[in-house]
């Protein structure tokens, strides 16, 4: 591997990201499975870095999952998106940031399609007016939330309480980065680093002291496949693709996996559990899995937030082996407690996958 070769490519895909004043829209999947991640995004950007991120309760799903499950026509998804843009316009913002990769891909695809077919944009403006009596300006800038954490990575590093270094060995932690397919595969020029060697997550890992692993199936989809997961009969597709990735990364012994897509961390986390229970195979050390984190979760850990405040108890794969390597102290007895240490029981332990 020639690191300079990648740097050369990265230099071709650097986008100018506005520093401040963002209209923030959430992700359907992440709010369910990683509710702490989005909370921490705003906490870090607003609370810590004092940036302006505006959110309105009136924004909704972008419809991306329904669209990619082929259940709604293109005009419908475009008009839902147009409504989101209208909310942004009404709030007086021009920079639009999406928490979800499917959404991000959806927004970019729609804007590009409108550019190519202006008559379609005109039609959607009419439909939106008809449906909601709203008008919109197109955003000046559309970013994915990981672009912003990437942008702020050095500021985060400057405030970091922990570095991505194994405290027992002093070696940098080995990280696998997994980029959501719709981040760069359709429009490489709208990403950081391009489609082949995306830098958005690698840049964070490097800035915070870790080493990035490049393994053969790095670019392969996590296996979500929309309808291939949402319909139970198709889930063999989903797990088979994830399995392929894990088999490929196994020889590199990654300490953790970092993701920027809503689906990927869920699938890479949960399919490890299913692989363990059905095949008896685990990929971490001592029967554990490989912890899978979102970029906000990793940023929060580095910044010293409590692992249970940021929601790591909602992962199926135990994160404790990673916390131990990082030297982060945590209270095992608090992991599954509610507010004010309210007792709400705890999840059952799986049969094979070792959990805490």
């Amino acid at each position: 591997m020639i690191y300079q070769g990648k740097q050369k490519i990265w230099a071709d895909y650097q986008k100018e990201i506005p520093d401040d004043h963002w209209f923030y829209v959430r992700s359907c999947i992440r709010q369910n499975f990683f509710p702490g991640a989005e909370k921490m995004f705003l906490e870090i950007c607003r609370g810590l870095l004092k940036k302006d991120f505006y959110e309105t309760e009136h924004h909704t799903t972008c419809g991306g999952i329904a669209y990619h499950c082929d259940t709604i026509p293109q005009e419908t998804v475009m008009t839902i998106v147009a409504r989101q843009f209208a909310l942004m316009t009404e709030a007086g913002y021009e920079n639009y940031v999406a928490s979800c990769i499917t959404s991000f891909g959806n927004y970019i695809e729609i804007l590009e399609t409108w550019k190519e077919f202006p008559e379609l944009e005109a039609k959607i403006r009419e439909l939106l007016w008809k449906a909601c009596k709203r008008e919109f300006n197109k955003p000046k800038y559309v970013a994915h939330a990981s672009d912003l954490i990437y942008k702020y990575r050095n500021e985060i590093a400057a405030r970091a309480k922990f570095r991505l270094v194994n405290r027992h060995t002093g070696e940098p932690l080995r990280a696998v980065e997994h980029i959501g397919c719709h981040y760069a595969k359709m429009f490489p020029s709208r990403s950081i680093g391009g489609a082949e060697y995306p830098y958005v997550l690698s840049g964070m890992i490097e800035a915070w002291g870790g080493n990035v692993i490049d393994y053969p199936e790095r670019r392969h989809c996590c296996g979500y496949g929309f309808r291939q997961y949402h319909v139970k009969a198709n889930r063999g597709y989903s797990i088979s693709n994830t399995y392929k990735k894990f088999e490929s990364m196994e020889p590199y012994h990654p300490d953790f996996i970092l993701t920027n897509c809503p689906g990927c961390p869920y699938f890479m986390d949960r399919w490890q559990y299913v692989i363990a229970e059905t095949e008896g195979k685990t990929y971490g050390e001592n029967g554990y899995g490989i912890p899978v984190l979102t970029y906000e979760e990793l940023a929060s850990l580095v910044l010293g937030y409590d692992p249970w405040d940021i929601g790591l108890q909602l992962h199926q794969v135990a994160v404790e082996p990673l916390l131990d390597k990082l030297g982060i102290e945590y209270d095992p007895s608090a992991k599954y407690k509610g507010l004010n240490r309210k007792d709400i029981m705890r999840p059952e332990l799986p049969g094979v996958l070792r959990c805490c």
Binding site: E55, G63, T71, I72, P73, T79, I80, F226, A233, N241
Partner: protein
């Protein structure tokens, strides 16, 4: 209705996605669906560009077009700037409109998908929502999700979510007037019509198969016949 090919080309995704295919196979080489299903996106492109009406009709009625996972990895690689994934979306859209989707097992899955996803959007404003993401249908979500659902008020509160609450925040309640706007968007853009079309053809198919709609839902949601996966029957 005009020819199927012409209908297909009215779809912007087909316009974007289908230029000229040279059958080089870069799409199939990295396609997650081709990796496990008996599926070859290159052949889809070749059939469509052949403009052979019979073959296109067969395609629209087949399982073949429903194997794609819409990851769009093919779009990155095509040397002719095609988007096989986009063409698949256009084919699926046409298959749904014409009711051809009920002719294949994977196509019939459009019924549960439509019910789940458009239901979530119109009822809650989310594509995925805890109230409808049952552990029983998603055992792979693990004991942690089961626990999370059982104590969702507490687990959500613990991580600072605004579950079903007023105002902004994680999993907040989407205000009624916003849900109403979504509904009227569905009404004016063909979303509602699409739901009705899928419902109508699925009902007819369920009748043909001698099932009520609940059984039909379960059947299409859960059942996978042999022969889809490459490994089947080997």
């Amino acid at each position: 209705m005009g020819k199927l090919y012409d209908e297909l080309l009215k779809d912007y995704r087909a316009k974007e996605g289908l230029k000229t295919c040279i059958n080089c196979g870069t799409c199939t080489a990295i396609c997650p669906a081709a990796e496990f299903y008996r599926y070859d996106p290159r052949k889809v492109m070749d059939i469509v560009q052949s403009r052979d009406e019979d073959e296109i009709e067969k395609l629209l009625k087949s399982d073949f077009i429903w194997y794609c996972g819409e990851c769009m990895s093919c779009v990155t690689r095509c040397p002719r700037r095609n988007g096989p994934g986009l063409v698949i979306m256009a084919l699926r859209n046409l298959s749904a409109r014409l009711g051809y989707f009920t002719c294949s097992e994977k196509g019939r899955q459009l019924y549960p998908l439509t019910r789940i996803l458009t239901g979530n959007i119109l009822n809650y404003g989310y594509c995925v929502y805890p109230d409808t993401f049952k552990w029983e249908d998603h055992k792979e979500s693990g004991p942690v999700w089961k626990w999370h659902l059982e104590h969702i008020e507490d687990t959500m509160a613990r991580v600072g979510a605004n579950f079903k609450g007023e105002g902004p925040g994680v999993l907040r309640k989407i205000p009624r007037e916003s849900l109403d706007e979504l509904k009227s968007i569905f009404d004016v853009t063909g979303g509602t019509e699409r739901i009705e079309t899928v419902e109508k053809f699925s009902r007819a198919k369920a009748g043909e198969m001698g099932m009520d709609m609940d059984d039909y839902f379960r059947e299409t949601f859960e059942h996978a016949s042999q022969g889809h996966l490459n490994s089947d029957g080997d």
